[in-house]
Symmetry: C2
């Protein structure tokens, strides 16, 4: 059910003609209340798209009634005119729903540096408003309308025994093509929870989920994850309970992103443990995830741990090469400063790969989800916009 | 002439049987003096190969009589045994030349995590010592023996009107395959110059040459650049003159590395100007160079400046997106926060690509040399060690 699973939400996904052909490319998600608390996390890129600037602004009071999302154009690096386009889109949603534009967040994904075809976007908003439904199909239509090179809609939902739930949708081809692979996520809940608690829970959940998928280090100009709370269940969970379930649903969505990364033939989990800090563990996981030589070796089903050791050594994190251990799919290949097993003792024939780096220096752990680097990645990304 | 161009040097490159087949894989470069000042710069990777640890140690007094280099194995992550192998190699060179091992630097390149076949290396040292010559052919043999996936030997030389010269050889497939693409460089000069001045000149030259080629962000466990001075010309250049010529020869070698990067179809110069500091300019140039989405777009001959803007925004450097300009091959595509020309007005059909990013914030400039990311890169690096 995803975003329409929790009570109080309707959704739609329609073909507005932003993309060529008749693919769905505009989604609308509406919170019918009674409450309208909301929170968001956004790209850390200094180059932020117009919809990011807008949504950060309207979230100031931590209230949202609706989110409009489009694929087919990122509306990034489009100057004041691009910002006006975002504003006009929010205004049109407001008119269609009888609410103020200030209650409408906007998300866009697609090619950077081109204006959106507003002659398609604005009628598309009306069309989506007319199609709003609380059905499962409507949620799937919305999840479909935000896709770019993704191969399938990605949704998740979890229900608490106390009678409230969290649903969500996400798009992103795992940063495999950042013009396209902006991560956009919308989570909904019918729990009763105020904006500040929602914000804290989203930041906590993101830290170990949305922030820990890293396919090629690209940070989009448009990355946005929003959470909207309707309060329609009438149940007020504890902050702890809410944050836990939000982390579960976010983790589920992120796993779907990893598995749908375009061009990838491997789903790779890099776990770093024994670090002196969680930051160090994340830093090392990321540098290994982003290393093209590790990624291409995995594409070749080669457990080339020397490349992992090399990547390990170029982080600012605390590392003692004499203590570190590297294991791939359960086989320890390097320990105590020397090789301890032959590379061919590792089976890399399957899709799932687990890399374990134990630094033996401290108590901190982090897992980064990534993929391999394949011919299809190069093909996809060299051919996309031309 | 390269390393044997300056007076006082002999070289050899022989097939020792470290690699399969009969390719040359062991090189020896000897400084016959009268002086033996030397300096070196090494990888910043925390995981340093045995030959790096050894060479850093023997350079303590800034004197070297010889350098022995091998391809076919990096001797990295090989523990104390690997260090003993390096030590034994230096000892053998010392015996063959009648000098102390402390005067012998060692460089290795190849797969990480495997011991070297010492039964091939040690007789190879004797063979190389017997083959030492001051000829041009001997220098080319040495430049050939250090190659891995490089397609051709890379040498350079420049002579000062006052009668002294600097020669050099380098290997590296431009970090395109870091197990192989260790950058090893040896520079020779017959100028009269002491170790401290040599060290300062090498650091100065490296900063704008060897440190500014970045194909995929990989920093090898084995990167080493050495400079040896024989004093055989009898001429003492000023420190300024020497550093300038060293920078010229180093720049020439680095350009050869860029053009020989395996799998690359484009030679890309990224110039960042108008930065508030040189560090900022370098940081931005590097992040753009390492961005897979920029690199794959270039492989597709697509001047996708939106990807450059995205990469720009994810550095810690000071950037104002409203002021920055991006030009590709002379065509300004982005300025004042908006697109200013169509992408198809840029001709990317040739091999050479110039990306100019003007931040309009300060007076500092840097150029980073890189390449595109091609199918051949993926092929080369997924297939190499298996």
């Amino acid at each position: 059910m995803s975003v329409t699973g929790p009570a109080g939400f309707r959704a739609a996904g329609v073909p507005a003609g932003i993309k060529a052909g008749d693919a769905r490319d505009l989604a609308l998600i509406v919170n019918d209340g009674p409450h309208d608390s909301a929170a968001g996390v956004f790209t850390t890129n200094k180059v932020r798209a117009a919809p990011v600037l807008w949504s950060q602004q309207v979230l100031h009071e931590r209230r949202l009634r609706a989110v409009v999302l489009n694929s087919g154009g990122a509306n990034a690096c489009t100057g004041p005119e691009g910002f006006q386009d975002t504003h006009a889109t929010a205004e049109r949603v407001g008119e269609a729903l009888g609410i103020g534009a200030i209650g409408v967040a906007v998300c866009s994904t697609g090619l950077i540096g081109q204006r959106l075809p507003m002659e398609a976007v604005l009628p598309g908003v009306d069309k989506a408003a007319a199609a709003l439904e609380g059905s499962e199909q409507a949620a799937t239509d919305a999840a479909t309308a935000v896709l770019t090179t993704d191969s399938l809609p990605k949704q998740a939902q979890a229900t608490h025994p106390d009678g409230w739930s969290i649903g969500g949708l996400v798009k992103g081809a795992g940063m495999l093509a950042p013009n396209l692979a902006t991560m956009l996520g919308v989570l909904t809940t019918d729990a009763v929870i105020d904006g500040d608690a929602l914000d804290a829970a989203l930041r906590r959940a993101s830290r170990t989920t949305f922030d820990r998928i890293d396919v090629d280090g690209g940070t989009s100009t448009n990355d946005t994850v929003l959470v909207l709370a309707s309060g329609a269940s009438g149940v007020s969970p504890s902050h702890e309970e809410f944050a836990e379930l939000l982390t579960t649903v976010s983790g589920d969505l992120v796993r779907r992103l990893q598995h749908d990364a375009e061009g990838a033939t491997k789903a790779v989990d890099i776990t770093v443990r024994g670090a002196v800090s969680e930051d160090d563990a994340v830093r090392i996981g990321r540098v290994v995830a982003e290393d093209n030589l590790v990624s291409t070796a995995l594409f070749g089903s080669d457990p080339n741990w020397g490349r992992i050791a090399m990547a390990l050594g170029r982080t600012p994190a605390e590392v003692d090469v004499g203590k570190a251990e590297i294991a791939v799919n359960g086989v320890t290949l390097y320990a105590g400063g020397t090789p301890v097993a032959e590379r061919d003792s590792v089976d890399l024939s399957g899709r799932d790969v687990e890399i374990l780096i134990d630094l033996h220096l401290g108590e901190h752990t982090a897992t980064i989800l990534t993929t391999d680097l394949s011919h299809d990645y190069v093909e996809e990304n060299s051919a996309y916009s031309s």
